[in-house]
Symmetry: C2
Subunit: 472 residues, 2 copies
């Protein structure tokens, strides 16, 4: 369904086209975004993806949608190859720092939260650790086995990609193309029927070092990386997703495998829009953690670039363009950001005429005095009511309400609340007026009408009853 | 240290007086607030305390302080008596619902977070689970044993209150007074030297059912409730606290015991201001969970009272007054709240003249079109720059910057940022002007001066160099 007046268009990796956006449920977007694997700090290229997803969420909200967004924190099952080979990323992090995987997960989850907070990224409504939902993965894998999409071999459970005809749709590549990408330095898993098959549950391979392990119908073990996102998405957003996001490096194998297992499990199409953010490059190519030293937000900060300068740097480019990081480029952005703030400061400081400024100062002082007096909130509220009754301009009143509500936090400026209350009020006034007319109290009826008109609300009496228009 | 122009006054339970407020570190408040024991839903009386603490934090921030606030989540060690007797609250919750204590903790933590979010309570910067800091408690208890403030008896470790002369200072009661409060239905702990002593670490008593348990130098066991807050506060806020908050029921024994153990451990005074919120009563007396049925925020909501109505209800009274809940009273608040919102809606809708409104609409449309076009953030930024260059009034510009920054999230309206950039800008202009004067480019120097004046900044040349004043 589309919102009235909605013209949102999004590039969909699935169809390789910019498409009109519509949702399964009117006005509500079910959005899943892949979260970090918490084995190390995020580099600023990783963070670019989260900035893109944040802008997507906030743009949708700005356009009137309610966004239900879910993100996972991967603390188990992610191999260095993104497939089933290589080392376990969490395990590798733990060895590197001589800590337990739990300590590693905890530390880097906090570091990640800290980064996104500094970038003014809104935390998704639901953030879930992969290791907290083992039951859900087991339930899904069982059904995939029953439906014959999965098989047991060498002690592990694999998804059989030959059973899922659209396996290569998202990546747009053929099976041979993808095999070229398989690393030669890792041993191939001989248990698989087809090299493209991927693991859903592991009990044997690389198991001896795996600290996180759970019981399952197939023996003690741990889940594959891909099933985590399918599972958490299913648990919190149900059978139909509107948008699934990630970085372009997630297209294959991660999102490709998610589609295969989720749609096989559900028996129908799962997600309508797949949106991917492009890489950040430096002069040596794609930013990556495997290269050793990498650029974190803290490192940027220590060099005098505050996080929001990096946010602006990202917003200056389109999320689907590769972006090249250089200190010259970020210097220019820093400059632009400072100018922007300076300009905003002037504008803010010159909003009001002197007379109104005096009033603002007076009421703000009253409000402060109330709070300073051992938190006299009742008096602080009285100041608010005094403002509403005062001869201040509406602009001044609005500014003071805003200022006071930073402390009172009564949600006085929440759009939906105001709209709703306004409607309620007008409806009540119309009813009162109708009642007055019925009782032949025409003077009262006229008074109600003109009071509303003064407030910018015009009533019209028609055959269907009284309607109104609001002049904004 | 006090802030310039600061007149904050707070009632201090420790001195039983309203006192001038000052902090250990200038401009920074180290604030610890006791969090919930997550064994059941919070009742609205519990929530009153969190509203009070939220207003305290936000008032301090409004007055210019930075508040470092820490809160614990108690998931282990809290007995039904608040002392060392009775049942373990978490255990009791788990038995009641046939779940594990971990499931109980997880579920009721989320429920709590949900409640405070609905009440527009800002989550403290640091929120820590009691069970995550066992090492810290052990470190403190070891030192208390070394310093002879604690003793081992019957397998447990107790704090010896006879060693701490000011033990009754906070509560202002004598030892005999307090003994009257001890419940008769629970068996006294015979291991204690003095009935007022309290447990720091338990290994034996009521141990068989205790699921959460850890190794310690005194055997496997679990920490006492009081040491949790002392430990978490010490770990995150260091040796000196400015404010410690809670409900009045925390004064004894919880905060009394915290002071005893923290000051004995630290060897100096710990916290300067102790602030306590009063109870919420209903017509049967103090609201409490032990009475069986109790009033939650969700229950209030289901009866048609939205959470912020309850917030307003609390703010109408002083936090140190007992407040009586009744449906008549909350109905009146609901009414007042609706009027407040309606009034605000009118003010908001009548802020701008028609000409400016047209401009706002035009630029907002441009901004939306950019975002709708597959998130063209570069164009969205161009719209922002266009606004800044336009002939809109400052008020209109400010309103648009505000609106756009909801999506861009560049922190454009953050007070400190703006102040800082403004200063930087003026300083740079002054330097440029001085340079121009040195080079005898008087025309340029005058131009810089008059440009600043146009922006409301007046330069004054004096013996000490150039100073400026900003007309707001």
């Amino acid at each position: 369904m589309r919102l009235e007046g909605d013209r949102m268009k999004l590039y969909n990796t699935l169809t390789k086209k910019v498409e009109d956006f519509s949702t399964n449920e009117k006005g509500i977007v079910a959005m899943y975004t892949c979260g970090p694997t918490v084995y190390h700090f995020a580099h600023i290229g990783n963070l670019r993806t989260y900035i893109f997803e944040d802008i997507l969420q906030k743009s949708l909200e700005y356009l009137g949608y309610e966004v239900k967004r879910v993100m996972n924190i991967t603390d188990v099952g992610h191999m260095t190859s993104d497939g089933d080979t290589g080392e376990d990323k969490m395990q590798k992090g733990a060895e590197r720092e001589h800590k337990t995987v739990y300590e590693i997960a905890d530390f880097y989850t906090k570091a990640f939260m800290n980064d996104i907070d500094k970038l003014n990224i809104k935390l998704p409504g639901i953030v879930e650790k992969a290791s907290d939902h083992i039951d859900t993965y087991i339930e899904m894998i069982q059904k995939l086995l029953e439906k014959d999409y999965a098989y047991q071999a060498g002690g592990n459970i694999y998804f059989d990609v030959s059973k899922f005809p659209n396996y290569y749709e998202l990546s747009g590549k053929s099976g041979e193309d993808l095999l070229v990408g398989v690393r030669e330095d890792v041993e191939e898993d001989k248990s698989k029927r087809n090299p493209a098959d991927f693991g859903l549950w592991f009990t044997l391979s690389k198991f001896e070092n795996q600290v996180m392990q759970w019981d399952s119908p197939w023996g003690r073990g741990y889940p594959g990386w891909h099933i985590e996102c399918s599972g958490i998405s299913y648990k919190y957003l149900g059978e139909y997703l509107d948008i699934h996001c990630g970085g372009v490096d997630n297209i294959f194998p991660h999102h490709t495998n998610e589609i295969a297992q989720s749609e096989s499990f559900l028996g129908h199409k799962w997600c309508n829009y797949w949106c991917h953010g492009e890489h950040l490059n430096d002069n040596t190519g794609k930013m990556s953690k495997s290269k050793g030293e990498f650029l974190t937000l803290s490192l940027l900060e220590s060099k005098g670039y505050e996080p929001l300068v990096y946010r602006l740097f990202c917003l200056n480019s389109h999320y689907r363009s590769q972006l090249v990081f250089s200190y010259e480029a970020i210097d220019a952005t820093k400059n632009a950001y400072q100018k922007l703030l300076g300009r905003t400061a002037f504008i803010r400081d010159n909003r009001f005429g002197e007379k109104e400024l005096d009033k603002i100062e007076k009421y703000e002082m009253e409000f402060k005095r109330a709070l300073e007096n051992d938190l006299n909130t009742a008096n602080a509220l009285t100041t608010l009511y005094d403002v509403l009754k005062s001869d201040c301009t509406n602009e001044t009143k609005f500014c003071l309400i805003e200022s006071f509500d930073r402390v009172l936090s009564l949600g006085l400026l929440k759009e939906e609340k105001l709209e709703y209350e306004l409607e309620q009020y007008i409806e009540t006034q119309i009813q009162k007026r109708n009642e007055a007319k019925k009782q032949k109290q025409y003077e009262l009826a006229d008074k109600i009408r003109s009071e509303l008109l003064e407030k910018g609300i015009e009533l019209k009496d028609g055959r269907e009853g009284t309607t109104y228009t609001i002049k904004k």
